[in-house]
Amino acid sequence: MKAIVTVMLKDGVLDPQGKAIGHALHVQGFGEVQEVRAGRVIELDIDARDREAAAARVDEMARKLLANQVIESFKVEIV
């Protein structure tokens, strides 16, 4: 099974990277861009009985390791 974990900074936490990307897009003529947020994505291949089991395990991985919950939030998708 394949899982996709998307990790973004929590709302309100400064996102220097997103800010810089937004700025660069503007300079390059993409004036229609408003807010930009940058995050990480981690794709995992994983052995699991079923989707629920996989989701539960990946959720645990994200909590323990993949996301820094002090400043980040995450989302798990099983595909």
Partner: protein, 740 residues
């Protein structure tokens, strides 16, 4: 938030005692608004008001003919000749670094950089003094990793080389690591910028990053011990943007080359509140802010939130009204926010408006003058029992191998290899090359041929301070002095970072008072005044059973010295053919030594006694001999004693050393591993001249061996310990801890 009624209960949540809240009511003559309460609470927090420490800090010596600005400004300023000044300070970011090690350490570096460039200096070097919990504690590894990455991530990006520092491990730091960051900058003595506001009507300008809801109440958090609710305090973590800091440095220095600035101050702890209150307070004027003009990152921020936000990379500047366009153009060029958010008034009040409403109106004088000041009760002075008889269970060879690989002595290359130490083209002695880092300074940024240099070091031996705070406080100063002398520099001044536990506990307050007393005595004896510093209290962890663990008391000292000619700087690397000369007296002091801890598992006894007159005499002698060109390698003796120092010099120079028989009357472990103070180990090609000079200066000196170009240390009894074995033991610790 806004729905809360302001009362004594809320004040307590904000960290104000009932009595302090009464005082607020008396000053205001009414119930303060939420924003006003917020302002009082941060200004009267331990972090900003120094309410527990001030009475003791005042006893430190802070003046010398070369001191231009001592404590009281953003950083200390000393004259280094040729019309130049060194500006430097050290600051802690302990609590944030436990909660989020990367961002905590990174923003610590950012904060101290701003304290230095806000005075007009270009930052030329960073150092850091770190204390971590036991290497056996699984949490330690994550904290070391984050802190080291954070320091590197920020310092490398802003392009200020990280050239030195120190690291200790001890279980008392398990739940409360120490991250003390130091920045050193260079400015022209006639272009130093201060924070006292002036000029009624002058615009108050905000530059840098936008304000978000970061770190609200950070200053009060830094003043509280960690309990089970540390988790709940997490949302206050700030994120640093070193890229914006770099732009801010360049933009501010560019502005400083004009005549636009009246006063300037970084927004550090308690952000807009402390910067505006301090600028107006110091200038004896009033200030009015209209928060509608504050550049904001988030929607719907309240006055309270904006006044208390600790968003990073922001500065407040009072400028000449006719220079507003010049200033704006510079910040536009660097693509930084620039906004006039208020003006200087004659009211003596801080007035904060938001959406047409006056959210705060506080008289500045009482806010400062009636700030709480405590002479907290002192516990009994701890007098350490002298160390009793010890035995040596493992012998010299095994002890050396163990010590050289122990957490407090092992190679720190793993750490400094992640710090850019050369950027800027000024670094003459990189980490690990000498007892102090050496950076060359130039009169202007392109003055390539100056050889005037600064020597920099940070030092403290917390286990000594724990055993006897007076001796430990003095020893930290003496060791900094020694490290500067060892490279050939003349020590000029120190900054300090006083990390202690809860000052409301008499035994902690006693440690604090005694450590300062010791520091003061040493600074006076060595003509080595304190020009800036920082206090971090409440470094304790609440245990599940309700008890608390305090850190080992850690008055970290950052020392600065000057070398007229950087070409004369001496490192610790030995070369074959040199004789090794030991300077100073060896009595075999093993109390609180690393040998005792690492070999016998004991943390006992009194720290080694200090003789400050000898420190001064020996330091001057070493400097003179270096200036005379007689010294090819030099190292002060500290943790681990003589044999550890020999091994470090031999490894650095890739040469073996043949050692002479120790003097009789001392056990071998006392000679090799005692931590007696005021000692140096010098490598010289002219041992006779050196001994003669020592004799006439009344300085104890003795040849103890020579570098023979072999591949090992040969002990007097004939045993050889190969350099390869030593290096393997020395290099193992950090990679094994971190990369396993």
């Amino acid at each position: 938030m806004t729905a809360r009624t302001v009362d004594a209960a809320l004040a307590r949540e904000f960290g104000l005692s009932n009595e302090e809240y009464e005082r607020v009511l008396a000053i205001m003559g009414r119930t303060p608004s939420l924003t006003e309460l917020g302002i009082f609470s941060v200004m009267w927090s331990e972090h900003c008001s120094y309410k527990s420490s001030r009475v003791w800090l005042k006893t430190l010596p802070t003046t010398a003919p070369w001191v231009i600005h001592g404590p009281g400004e953003n950083a200390g300023v000393v004259d280094i000749g040729r019309g130049l000044a060194a500006i430097f300070k050290m600051e802690s970011h302990n609590h944030p670094s436990f909660i989020e090690p990367y961002q905590g350490a990174a923003t610590g570096v950012g904060g101290i950089l701003r304290d230095v460039f806000t005075m007009g200096a270009r930052p030329v070097a960073n150092l850091n003094a770190l204390r971590f919990g036991s290497p056996e504690n699984p949490v330690t590894r994550r904290i070391v990793d984050g802190v080291v990455r954070g320091i590197g991530g920020y310092g490398n990006c802003v392009g200020v080389p990280t050239v030195g520092g120190e690291i200790n491990f001890h279980p008392s730091f398990d739940g409360n690591p120490l991250v003390n960051a130091m920045t050193v900058g260079i400015a022209r003595t006639d272009r130093i910028f201060l924070s006292a506001a002036a000029g009624i009507g002058n615009p108050v300008v905000y530059v840098g990053s936008r304000t978000g809801r970061d770190g609200i109440h950070g200053a009060t958090m830094a003043s509280a011990e960690f309990g089970a609710d540390a988790e709940a305090k997490r949302p206050t973590v700030q994120v640093g943007d070193p890229f914006v800091e770099k732009l801010l440095i360049e933009a501010c220095l560019e502005l400083m080359a004009t005549d636009a600035i009246v006063a300037i101050q970084d927004m550090g702890a308690a952000g807009l509140t402390s910067s505006s209150v301090e600028m107006a307070g110091k200038g004896g004027v009033g200030i009015e802010l209209d928060l509608d003009h504050v550049p904001q990152r988030e929607r719907g921020m309240t006055a309270y939130e904006m006044m208390l936000s600790e968003s990073q990379e922001r500065m407040l500047i009072v400028i000449r009204p006719d220079r507003e366009d010049v200033a704006r153009a510079i910040f536009d060029k660097w693509e930084l926010d620039f906004a006039v958010i208020g003006h200087i008034t004659e009211t003596g009040h801080i007035v904060v408006k938001h959406r047409g409403v006056v959210e705060a109106d506080i008289p500045l004088d009482p806010l400062a003058e009636q700030a709480p000041l405590y002479r907290r009760p002192l516990g009994d002075r701890v007098v350490p029992e002298p160390l009793g008889r010890v035995h040596d269970p493992i012998g010299t060879e095994a002890a050396l191998l163990r010590l050289i690989g122990s957490p407090d002595i092992a190679s720190r290359a793993w750490v400094w290899n992640q710090y850019d130490s050369t950027v800027g083209g000024r670094t003459v002695r990189r980490p690990g090359a000498a007892d102090a880092a050496v950076v060359v300074v130039s009169e202007d940024d392109a003055g390539f041929d100056s050889t005037l240099a600064l020597a920099l070091t940070t030092d403290c031996t917390p286990r000594y301070v724990q055993a006897c705070a007076r001796t430990g406080g003095a020893q930290a100063v003496a060791e900094a002095y020694r490290n500067l002398c060892a490279v050939g520099a003349t020590p000029l001044a120190v900054t300090d970072n006083l990390n202690f536990g809860n000052p409301e506990r008499p035994e902690i307050m006693r440690q604090f008072a005694d450590a300062i007393e010791g520091m003061g005595v040493a600074c006076r004896a060595l003509d080595f005044p304190v020009v800036s510093g920082n206090v971090s209290l409440y470094n304790e962890t609440k245990n599940p059973d309700g008890t608390t663990t305090a850190i080992l008391p850690t008055p970290a000292i950052g020392g600065l010295g000057v070398l007229e000619d950087a070409n004369r700087a001496v490192g610790l690397s030995l070369a074959p053919g040199l004789s090794l000369v030991l300077i100073g007296e060896t009595a075999g002091a093993l109390g609180q030594s690393l040998w005792l801890r690492e070999v016998l598992g004991q943390e006992e006894g009194a720290p080694p006694p200090l003789d400050l007159a000898a420190e001064r005499r020996h330091g001057a002698f070493v400097r003179d001999q270096i200036a005379a060109g007689r010294i090819a390698a030099s190292h002060d003796l500290a943790d681990g004693g003589l044999l550890v120092a020999i091994a470090e010099m031999a490894m650095a120079g890739r040469t073996g050393v043949a050692l002479d028989t120790p003097p009789s009357g001392l056990p071998p472990y006392g000679w090799w591993f005692g931590e007696d103070q005021a000692r140096y180990l010098l490598g010289t090609a002219e041992p006779d001249a050196l001994l003669a000079a020592a004799a006439s200066a009344g300085v104890p000196a003795r040849i103890i061996g020579h570098a023979d170009g072999s591949d090992g240390l040969t002990l007097p009894e004939g045993v050889t310990i190969s350099l390869a074995r030593l290096r393997a033991a020395h290099d193992r610790f950090f990679p094994a801890l971190m990369d396993a």
